[in-house]
């Protein structure tokens, strides 16, 4: 099956410095293949190369080497863009237009038939929660509302593949939930979604697979739960009304025990410990279980490790003298 998105050894160098420009490698030989219907999370800290990758896919910038294809066609193929949607990071749109006019304009450019245009514009504005503000000029919109307009315009042509660069950025919790629901709906409809984020929870809730980039390089890819870096390393239990006797039984097995307030404790347990038995014991001792969650390295921990590894790699490369600057 032809991948919906395929990147092969995609590399981008920028020239930095005015008088004596030096190459700065923003993306280093990135290869990925995303199958049709996948929701793919593209994760990494700021400056990792996420937006650079998306700009290369939209041909807003040109690769130094390597290639990329969308729906089996090179990224430069103008006709393929009728079949894709794109939300840029922190988008900006013509502020003299109303939300309705902007979507209509983009629908015209995308060749959406005039018979469907009005209905589709109305439906999408309602879907992103801007039905009442459809005739407001965008200059009157807040950052979160612009983000919602951006999501609507990315879907105006009912695209087969949707690229979302930090779609949760600027949204309040309600907005984030709406976007999550929207992405899940797209997945149910069989669309391919490629979204970048630096928030692990978004990826966990939505993605079938992820790739993590750090320092312009692919650090890891696969199912989030299969990635060694994110495997469960223990449990975190929060319990209230913990009696002194129950506490004594907890002390020898807990890797960390913290009293949050009177009788309320956070207990960290090693992976070897079975939480079910402990929950039963605590309940029997009159304690109430507030929450039980798996403990895993956060994406932030992973980023820190990867950045350190990337820096070490760059030092090694510089020592060998054969690599572009980073």
């Amino acid at each position: 099956m032809t991948p919906a998105i395929e990147l092969q050894e995609l590399t981008k160098d920028y020239a930095v410095g005015f008088w004596r420009p030096r190459p700065y490698r923003a993306l280093d030989r990135l290869s990925l293949a995303i199958a049709p219907g996948e929701v793919f999370g593209f994760l990494g800290p700021n400056g990792a190369g996420k937006t650079t990758t998306l700009k290369l896919l939209m041909q807003l910038i040109f690769p130094t080497s390597g290639s990329a294809e969308i729906l089996g066609k090179p990224v430069g193929d103008v006709a393929t863009r009728r079949r894709i949607g794109y939300l840029p990071e922190n988008p900006y749109f013509y502020d003299y237009l109303t939300a309705e006019e902007l979507l209509t304009y983009f629908a015209q450019l995308l060749g959406v038939p005039s018979a469907d245009r009005g209905r589709r514009v109305s439906h999408l504005l309602d879907r992103v929660g801007l039905g009442r503000e459809r005739r407001f000029q965008l200059r009157k919109f807040s950052k979160g509302m612009i983000q919602r307009v951006g999501i609507a315009q990315a879907l105006i042509n009912d695209p087969e593949v949707v690229f979302l660069d930090e779609p949760m950025s600027g949204l309040d919790p309600l907005g984030r939930r709406d976007v999550r629901t929207l992405i899940l709906e797209l997945r149910e409809q069989g669309r391919t979604v490629f979204f970048s984020s630096h928030i692990l929870a978004d990826a966990e809730a939505l993605c079938s697979r992820v790739a993590v980039v750090a320092g312009g390089r692919l650090a890891a890819s696969g199912r989030l739960t299969d990635l060694a870096e994110f495997r469960i390393r223990g449990w975190e239990l929060v319990a209230a009304n913990v009696s002194p006797s129950a506490l004594e039984r907890l002390r020898p097995i807990a890797t960390r025990l913290t009293e949050i307030s009177s009788g309320r404790y956070t207990v960290e347990l090693p992976l070897s410990e079975t939480p079910d038995a402990l929950v039963t014991m605590l309940a029997g001792a009159g304690a109430s279980i507030v929450s039980l969650n798996p403990l895993r390295d956060t994406l932030e921990d992973f980023f820190v490790q990867q950045i350190a590894a990337a820096a070490a790699g760059a030092r090694a490369d510089a020592g060998e003298g054969g690599h572009a600057g980073r």
């Binding site: 794109y86 840029p88 900006y92």
Partner: protein
């Protein structure tokens, strides 16, 4: 072609929303007040002055629109990052340049058209109220169709200035683009002097340089027939065609260069 049309209409809509048509109101007020004042002060000369003023104002107002909107056509899109979502649509970069250019030319066309109508209305009003003595002093009829030739050449000049502004806007900042476009406008009006520079300098290399610059820089004086028209002199159709042809070639070259630069540009 559809994409170019939609982009052009959007540029036109932007200029309307940015209140560019207000300049038409200022133009109308200027012409009407000038005709009233001149009617009190002069005898027979008023029609010539109104023609002169009308043509000059059409040119100057158009120049400001061409420069100040032209320099932002591309650079504003890049600076504000609205180009990201736009270029992700099924439009090529040359189509974007063509659409942006066509949109501003449409704005200028509407502007020049309305100013032309306003000028003829004011001239008709003066003609209506003129005494036989005043009519006798006129070098050319008030509603002289020759005026249309001058207005057509003004419009072509404005199209050329728009192309210059657009060309600079594909690779430089708005302020620099404005400065360079304005500088070319000034140089362009004195360019004809470079043609015969060897008559005033002894240095042969300087004469060659001047001749080279003459061919590279736009000769905007070719589009200026205001003086002839106001004084009732005929502008031959052949001259009109050659000036229009020169303008079209220069515009074509500028748009081609703008497209080449823009098509290779990274939007970081």
């Amino acid at each position: 072609m559809q994409a170019v049309r939609h982009i052009a209409i959007n540029v036109f809509r932007e200029s309307v929303r940015d209140r560019v048509p207000y300049n038409l109101v200022i133009f109308a007020i200027l012409l009407i007040s000038a005709s009233y004042l001149l009617g009190q002060l002069t005898a027979g000369q008023d029609i010539k002055i109104i023609k002169d003023l009308g043509l000059a104002a059409t040119s100057v107002f158009g120049l400001f629109i061409a420069i100040f909107i032209g320099i932002g056509l591309v650079s504003k899109e890049v600076e504000r990052r609205s180009i990201y979502a736009l270029l992700a649509k099924p439009i090529s970069r040359p189509q974007l340049i063509a659409g942006k250019y066509a949109g501003l030319v449409l704005t200028l066309a509407v502007n020049v058209l309305v100013m032309t109508v306003a000028l003829y209305v004011v001239l008709a009003a003066i003609s209506w109220n003129a005494s036989p003595e005043m009519r006798a002093a006129w070098e050319a009829p008030p509603l002289d169709p020759q005026l249309l030739k001058a207005l057509l050449l003004i419009f072509i000049e404005l199209m050329l200035i728009t192309a210059i502004a657009l060309f600079f806007s594909t690779f430089s900042s708005p302020i620099l683009s404005a400065a360079l476009t304005f500088a070319l406008y000034i140089v362009g009006h004195f360019n004809a002097d470079l043609k015969n520079f060897e008559l005033v300098v002894d240095s042969q290399p300087a004469a060659w340089l001047a001749r080279g610059l003459y061919h590279v820089l736009p000769d905007l004086s070719a589009f200026d027939v205001k003086m002839q028209v106001v004084h009732g002199l005929t502008v031959p159709a052949g001259y009109l065609v050659s000036a229009a042809g020169y303008g079209a070639m220069y515009i074509g070259a500028l748009l081609l260069a703008a497209t080449v630069i823009f098509s290779r540009r990274d939007f970081k």
